[in-house]
């Protein structure tokens, strides 16, 4: 089974405000894959190692900035 398939449902305003942890991590993983072709864990490791500290404020650099805003999804623990 595709572990990322859990969030492929249709979103509605009736669903809870907060994603369950596994779905939150899957969301983050898909975005890091889509924008940087990295897993969520790989991105977090590089972020915490300071690899993105000196990124230019360009469209490419801003992909990382967008992912940085989503980090709380990637850090959810079950």
């Amino acid at each position: 089974m595709n572990p990322l398939a859990t969030t492929m449902r249709t979103p509605t305003d009736q669903q809870p405000s907060v994603l369950p942890p596994a779905e939150a991590r899957a969301l983050f993983n898909r975005q890091t894959r889509r924008l940087l072709n990295l897993s969520g864990d790989e991105f977090l490791a590089r972020w915490e190692a300071g690899d993105y500290r000196d990124l230019p404020d360009t469209p490419e650099g801003r992909h990382v900035g967008y992912l940085a805003l989503l980090i709380p999804f990637g850090r959810k623990q079950s």
Binding site: T7, D13, V18, L27, G65, P72
Partner: protein
């Protein structure tokens, strides 16, 4: 955006976001958590796409298309002095609203990164689609022909709400609203935010 529990405060934060986004997006907003004093995020979950993906917005009566994505970071804080209206509140700590062309190229992006890694900490916007210009100078100036890259500027803005961006894309970029009373929705949500004094 107050609540009697952290979870309730996040529900009170997300519900108006969903109503505002519903003016232009088929989908919803989804948050990462409600832990007290922890960094959390909320982003868009467009219908038929993945959470965090940009949403496709129809423009010009359906003839055109742009993309929109957003993310906020927030913290749930406890304010016992305001316990009469719910001691827990959501405080936004970062935001970005990106308006992209149909192919994902940036048109205009609004950022606020008060604890970010860049030098500009105040709310600002970028216009990546803008072309460089040559600012007029005295002919004897050493920079008479130097180009200024408008696309690289950080243009200051005040703090912006998602309501401001929804109004901007409808009025200025001809996005087709999905609800007839979108203006009333924005007024109602702005009033609620003013009452909560969240900025």
């Amino acid at each position: 955006m107050a609540g009697s529990s952290p979870e309730e405060s996040v529900d009170a934060f997300v519900a108006p976001l969903r109503r505002t986004l519903g003016c232009i997006v088929r989908g919803t907003a989804i948050a990462s958590g409600a832990e007290l004093n922890a960094d959390n995020a909320v982003t868009l979950f467009p219908e038929g796409r993945d959470g965090g993906d940009p949403a496709r917005l129809r423009t010009h009566d359906g003839e055109g298309e742009i993309l929109f994505r957003f993310a906020h970071q927030y913290r749930v804080v406890s304010l016992p002095a305001e316990a009469d209206c719910g001691p827990y509140r959501v405080r936004r700590t970062f935001y970005r609203y990106d308006v992209l062309d149909w192919n994902g190229g940036e048109i205009v992006v609004f950022h606020w990164e008060p604890a970010g890694r860049g030098p500009v900490r105040a709310p600002h916007l970028h216009v990546p689609a803008a072309a460089p210009i040559v600012l007029p100078q005295q002919s004897t100036s050493g920079i008479a022909h130097r180009k200024t890259s408008l696309n690289r500027l950080h243009l200051p803005t005040g703090p912006l709400l998602v309501e401001d961006i929804v109004e901007f894309v409808i009025r200025e970029l001809a996005v087709v609203p999905l609800v007839a009373d979108w203006e009333a929705v924005l007024v109602e949500n702005r009033d609620a935010i003013d009452r909560g004094r969240t900025w």
